[in-house]
Point group: C2
Chain length 213, copies 2
């Protein structure tokens, strides 16, 4: 199903298609034309057709898209049919915020545990238990873990990534302001959220918008 020549930009747009199709399903809409989807999503119909053609199309001439089928197909493309177990390194505010995001579990992402080095944060009795970082190998040998989240300060990010990899974790969701990609084996996938860089992008756009006046 996945196509290794699909551009990063298309991949980034897939979750958005998935979200809008989910909303249409909730509204009871059964089919939609690419023009209708285009209007709803504020992208051109031609972009939608091009994006979906990367995966074989899915539309039927004159009929348009069957909303439920397309939602399901994009879910498969995104791998959402396979539930994923997650552990989070760092039981600080970012980690806690992630553990409280209700939409993750809806899509099959299950947060199993936190790991931290601060004795004051360790609490194995919590709904999502917080264990000592030193027990991570033991935990991952007994539990299948698909994704490791790095929510520790930047200076510990590389060490944490290497611990994850030693434990056999093949996917890292990174919130530290470092670029892990060059430092990990090719079969480990990284997705980073660099909040301060997002804020700087906003700052750029503020300046650009003011200069347009």
């Amino acid at each position: 199903m996945a196509n290794e020549f699909v551009s990063k930009a298309v991949i980034k747009r897939l979750p958005r298609y998935y979200r809008y199709l989910g909303e249409l399903m909730n509204e009871g809409v059964e089919k939609i034309s690419s023009a209708g989807l285009s209007e709803k999503m504020h992208v051109t119909a031609s972009q939608i057709r091009q994006d979906l053609n990367n995966f074989g199309g899915f539309g039927q001439q004159r009929y348009g898209y069957n909303v439920k089928n397309l939602h399901n197909e994009i879910g498969l493309i995104l791998g959402l049919d396979q539930p994923k177990n997650i552990i989070i390194a760092g039981a600080g505010n970012i980690g806690k915020a992630l553990s409280k995001a209700s939409d993750f579990s809806q899509h099959g992402f299950n947060i199993l545990a936190f790991f931290d080095t601060d004795p004051a944060k360790i609490d194995p009795e919590k709904t999502i238990p917080v264990y000592d970082m030193s027990s991570i190998r033991d935990f991952t040998s007994k539990n299948k873990v698909d994704i490791g989240v790095i929510a520790v300060p930047g200076k510990y990010a590389f060490k944490t990534a290497h611990t994850f990899i030693e434990c056999g974790i093949k996917a890292i969701w990174n919130f530290a302001l470092v670029d892990l990609d060059p430092a990990v084996p090719k079969d480990v996938v990284i997705e980073s959220v660099h909040l301060s860089e997002s804020l700087m992008t906003l700052s750029y756009n503020i300046k650009a918008s003011e200069e347009k006046k």
Copy 2:
């Protein structure tokens, strides 16, 4: 300085240049060739030259880049010479995590206050005070606010965005899983962080990586 024809991809890369140049400065490096910067950043030298040419270049033949000057110039392009005041709607975990990110204030982003509707969260005595949402107009009439952060549940996101806009706020940093862009005037800039979509992108890449084996 800003150029309205600069692509979004280039703009997204600018904060990363800024970060690496800052690190080089901290290491005492005074000049660097585009080849040297390329090796450090794991992008091609030609990409670096192309990206920076959008803003006039900055490199000198044979000499390369003066690290401090280029860091400063990119900071100006990003508007980091203008400190920005921020308020956060929603004093939950995401909001708290943002308020504790030490690197924001280093770059001139100052979080002035939280606003929330939950009486249990309101506490005007805190270091970063938490006020009742109803007092936001009064606050923004007395304080210059450059950026409003939406860290409220998705169903309140549009209402919050409209409140920000009524208060004269021209830039929104949005953490709710909604697309605000089509709903706001053209002179309001939006930057969104859609965490569950980032997680889905990671899920896609896990699947693609497994299929390559």
